[in-house]
Each structure stands twice: as structure tokens, then as C-alpha cells.
């Protein structure tokens, strides 16, 4: 079976600092995997490399069997990426932001409406993003990442700044995504265990532990 993500001997160097050191990991379709570790462990760098946002200094990344950096455009159609920064524009309303991304991913209206409904964003659709609280903004950004129904979902610090109710809602949602691969980076072991089946502990850019929860 073709793996959802195959990271083979990947290293990333920022100046003199190694963010990732010869890291190899395979994640299959249907797996929910948490990347855990302290600040600077390399979780976000790994996420960015898998999302094709940052190219590795060495090594290969394959997404659904294709080289991630040779077929970037095609592969990005199948990836949904949420970061702690959020990718929404302050001046635009929630709906305008989501429509911008939805149209570029050629999303059908039904999928767009469903995901907005699911995360209870309907009443906030006409509000400019700059007026939203951090939690609502994050929810809108999660919708942005899921609007095109991606097969690989990357969630960098998903639970940071979200209330218990939203965290539970998201855990239920992602656990029901049977055929998708979900990668989460988190500081919260508690929520990571609720969401994921497998945990990979990183430290100083290397895998320290790889366990089933």
C-alpha cells in the first residue's frame, strides 16, 4: 500500500542549527499521528516540510507516493494545513476568506456549507476576521484548511487557544475521517492521546520514541 507520507532521511539546517537530523518516518492512510516534544524539537519544521512549504536540506519526502517537491501543485490539492499563525486576512470577512480559498481549490458549494455548519461558523460569516476572538479565528482557519476535503491533514499546535468544547468537536471530527491521514503537532499530550493512535516523540530534530497510544 502506498503510504500517505514517507519522510526518508530528511534533514533541515537553519544556518548552523540542525532543525531535523536524518529523520525517517512512514505514515499510512487512516493513521492519526501526534508529533510531540519540547519547543525547538523540530515538530513545526517537519510539518512545514510535509506541507511543501519548506524544502529539506537533504532527504526525500513522498506524499501519496509522489515526490512532494516535484509535484507540489498537485500534492497541495490533497493537503490541508493548519498552523498556529492562521492564514486568514484581517480585513476580509470570514466568508470572503473562505470563499477565496474554496474557489482556488475548486470546492463545491455543498462541501463548503457542510464544513461551515459543522464548526458553527455560520453566524460569524459576515464578520471581518480582525473582529474575531482567537478561538473563533482558529476555527475559521481550520475550516479554511478543510474546505477542499484534503486526504492529508496537518495540524500544527491544533489545540492551542481553543476551548474544551471546540477541542472535543475537532477530536470527534478527525477521528471520523477514516480514509485520511492526520498529523498533529502538539504540546498537549492529553489531547494528542484523545485524538491520535500513535505518538512520535521528537527531540533536537530526532525521533526519540514512536509508540501506539
Amino acid at each position: 500500500m502506498v503510504a500517505a507520507v514517507e519522510v526518508i532521511e530528511v534533514s533541515k539546517k537553519y544556518g548552523y542549527l540542525w532543525a531535523l537530523k536524518s529523520l525517517t518516518v512512514r505514515i499510512d492512510k487512516g493513521e492519526l499521528v501526534a508529533f510531540l516534544g519540547p519547543n525547538g524539537a523540530g515538530k513545526t519544521t517537519l510539518m512545514k516540510i510535509v506541507a511543501t512549504h519548506v524544502s529539506p536540506s537533504s532527504g526525500t519526502v513522498k506524499i501519496f507516493g509522489q515526490d512532494a517537491f516535484k509535484n507540489g501543485g498537485q500534492i497541495r490539492k490533497r493537503i490541508g494545513f493548519v498552523t498556529h499563525e492562521g492564514f486568514l486576512y484581517d480585513e476580509l470577512t470570514v466568508e470572503e476568506n473562505l470563499l477565496f480559498y474554496a474557489r482556488l481549490f475548486s470546492v463545491n458549494q455543498q462541501n463548503f456549507d457542510n464544513i461551515i455548519e459543522f464548526l458553527n461558523l455560520k453566524r460569524w460569516c459576515m464578520v471581518p476576521v480582525k473582529r474575531l476572538s482567537y478561538g473563533l479565528r482558529k476555527r475559521a482557519d481550520i475550516v479554511r484548511a478543510l474546505v477542499h476535503n484534503p486526504d492529508l491533514i496537518l495540524l500544527d499546535e491544533l489545540f492551542a487557544g481553543l476551548d474544551e468544547e471546540t477541542c472535543s468537536l475537532l477530536v470527534d471530527y478527525f477521528r471520523n475521517q477514516q480514509a485520511k491521514a492526520v498529523l498533529v503537532s502538539s504540546h498537549s499530550i492529553e489531547w494528542a492521546k484523545k485524538l491520535c493512535d500513535r505518538g512520535i516523540l521528537l527531540d533536537k530534530g530526532e525521533i526519540v520514541q514512536d509508540t501506539q497510544f
Binding site: 493537503i79 494545513f81 499563525e85 492564514f87 486568514l88 486576512y89 480585513e91 482556488l104 471581518p128
Partner: protein
Amino acid sequence: MGFFSTALRIAEKDLKAEFRRAYEVLSILIFSVSSILICSLAWGGALAGRAEVAAAALWIILFFASVLTFTTSFTREVDRGTFGGLKTLPCPPSAILLGKILYAIVLLFLVELVLLLSSMVFLNLSLSEVFLELLLVFFLGMVNLSVAGSFVSGLVMFSEGKTLLLSFLLFPICMPVLVPSVLATEKIVKGLSMVNIMPELRLLLAFLFSITAIGALTFKFILEEA
């Protein structure tokens, strides 16, 4: 979604966000009009017979207005963290660059119109008979500035001191645009025909093809290395 429709969507999104902020577009327009006013106060009616000074003044103002536009093109996306969103899009990097170029073209065209109209009023330049020719030169020069400026803005977006770097880089890179544009404007204001400005137009077109090719070929590396 196709290459051009992606670029159009990106430009549309940028323009919508820009006009919602309004104060930045207004500050660029106010800068242009107040510069013309200052020139008018300093030179009075003497400019009517000094085509070379009028041409230089108009292009200096347009160049500085374009610097103000490009400092907010890519750099704001990076500063606010929204640039990552553009990198998630399933499109070639050059579509993102084209979107930013189209956004700059619309903004600078607005500045250009205000600049030409206010120079007719405040500098007493009689441009009504040559307005279309002048608009053609300004449009071509402005498209060149937009392509070069957007490319440089992308080039420096991850650097420290990017605003300063942009101003420093933009001037030498835009010299092949500014020189023929000023010369062509001067000739038109003097009342010379289109045939006389063909060498300048050719230079502008040649620069446009060169900078577009450089941008299209190299922009993906700028995105990937960030």
C-alpha cells in the same frame, strides 16, 4: 482553477483588503497630489514651457508612489503570516507573482490617473491633446514598474530590513524603465509624434519581456527557499 484565474483571484483579494484599509491607498494618493502641489508652488507657471522638468517631476512622484505600493505587496503577507496560505494553494508560484503584479498595476494606474489630472490643474500643463499618448507611455512604464517592483518585493520579503532593502534595490533595477519613460514623456509634452518615441517604447517592451522572464523562471526558488 487555471493559471490566470488564480492570479486574478489573488489580485482581487489583495485589492479588496487594500481598499478596506483605505488609509494606505489614500496616503499614496495624497502623497502624489501634495507633491504636484509643492512643484506647482515652487515653479508656478514656468513648467508649461519646461517639458523635461515636468517629465522628471511626474516620474519621480510615480516612482516613490510605487515604492510605497511595493512595500506592502509581499512583505505584509509575510509579516501577518498569511503568506503561508498562498503557499498552500495548488498553483504554480508564478501565478502568485502574477496576482501581485495585477494588484500593483491597478493601484499604480489609479495613482497615475490622479497624477496626470492633478498635473494638468496645478502645473498648468496642457496635456489634453496628448493625453492618450501620455497615458500609453505611463501605462507601459507603470506595468514595467509593477513587474519589477513585485519581483523585488518578493525577493526581499524574508530579509531583515526588507523595506529599506526594497528601496535600495528598486532604484537601480528600475533605471531601464525610468530613463526611457522620462525621455518619452518629455517628447510627448513637447508635442512630438508617436514615431519619435518608438525607441523608448521598444526599450520599455524589451525590459518588460526580460524582467517577466526572470520573474517567471526564478520565483519558485524564492518561495521554496523561504
